[in-house]
């Protein structure tokens, strides 16, 4: 952990060099945004939540205990921030089906380049946010199970079981959506 290059940047920030934080934002913004997007499934809200998380992280940097990677700590903040955004706006949310349709329409031409991705996103939208995030983290292959558990606030064993079940459920959802035609994806 001592060799983590992020720690050098953090030391500079804590010494008062605020612009150094831009390097951390640049480095982790896509991953943070991806996590927020998987939870909120709304581009503008995800962007706002991810920004908010980076700002919170900056202001609590002094409390980062360096026992875990900075990225794990940051993504936990992103995860919690996105979850609280979701809760805050829950009453404004439409039914699941409508949300899925709207999400895909919104993504037309921007996010959904292929039917394959569209169907996958539709199936992912049927899972709850914790499962969706755990699956995303698992498949982006940057974190160990322990780190995924840390980010999502679960025990490692729980995370393992959850990812396992979410994969099976996602396959079922894909099957339902495509009605067996999923095999041709």
């Amino acid at each position: 952990m001592m060799n983590d290059p992020d720690l050098l940047i953090i030391d500079r920030i804590l010494a008062g060099e605020q612009p150094a934080y831009a390097a951390l934002v640049n480095k982790y913004k896509s991953y943070a945004f991806t996590i927020a997007q998987k939870i909120l499934q709304n581009r503008s809200e995800s962007e706002e939540a991810a920004q908010d998380a980076f700002i919170k992280a900056y202001h609590h940097l002094v409390g980062f205990n360096r026992e875990s990677k900075f990225s794990t700590w940051l993504y936990r903040i992103v995860f919690n921030t996105a979850i609280s955004y979701k809760r805050k706006n829950r009453q404004q949310f439409q039914s699941l089906e409508t949300t899925v349709i709207e999400y895909n329409q919104d993504a037309d031409g921007m996010l959904e380049k292929t039917d394959k991705k569209k169907y996958l996103n539709q199936a992912l939208a049927k899972l709850n946010e914790a499962d969706r995030t755990a699956l995303t983290l698992f498949y982006l292959e940057e974190f160990s199970l322990e780190e995924i558990a840390d980010i999502t606030g679960m025990q490692a064993n729980t995370a393992k079981v959850r990812i396992h079940r979410a994969r099976l459920r996602l396959a079922d959802e894909l099957k339902t959506i495509l009605n067996e035609e999923a095999l041709t994806l």
Binding site: A22, N26, F33, Q51, H59
Partner: protein, 176 residues
């Protein structure tokens, strides 16, 4: 379509992840030759797995970093609905109220504010009352003293949350 039992589903995922040992893999390969439903399920899981593996990062807007950096200094103001100035004003108001109340108590204004609330005089249907109700003594001085104590607690909270905390937060982020 025949439903695949849970343990076989689990085994298929382990097969995809390459976690089966040679014997388990051979046994499953053998079973897949004869069990069409199992083969279909494996295909579904592989499709799901491949789709997820191919999914990439999503990218925020180009000015994301710039936006974050421009908002860094707004955070303490944004997080508290109270400015330090308002906190000081509120604290001053609470302290003035405590001072006035204390002066009034010590000058004996509330010494005569005593009464007794006799519950028997309250107009209640007699059929619900089996025995004589007690009288409740009311002491104005005691009540005002309790209010002063509560105000002291409130003043302490205001001092901590609305003045000291924002002050040290601001100093931490701008002072260094």
């Amino acid at each position: 379509m025949e439903k695949i039992p849970q343990h076989l589903d689990d085994k298929l995922l382990r097969y995809i992840d390459g976690e089966l040992n040679a014997n388990e893999k051979q046994a499953l390969d053998e079973e897949l030759k004869h069990n069409e439903a199992l083969g279909t399920r494996l295909n579904q899981l592989q499709t799901m797995n491949q789709s997820l593996r191919n999914s990439k990062f999503e990218h925020p807007s180009r000015n994301f970093t710039q936006l974050v950096m421009s908002k860094l200094d707004q955070y303490p103001m944004h997080s508290s609905s109270f400015s330090i100035r308002n906190g000081i004003l509120l604290l001053a108001g609470v302290l003035v109220a405590i001072g006035i109340a204390s002066v009034l108590v010590s000058s004996g204004v509330f010494d005569s504010a005593t009464a007794t609330i006799d519950l028997n005089q309250v107009n209640l249907p007699k059929k619900y009352i089996e025995r004589t109700l007690p009288s409740i003594p009311f002491n104005g001085k005691l009540i005002v003293n309790i209010i002063i104590l509560l105000n002291l607690g409130l003043a302490w909270l205001v001092l901590d949350r609305a003045i000291l905390k924002p002050f040290f937060q601001r100093r931490m982020h701008t002072g260094h």
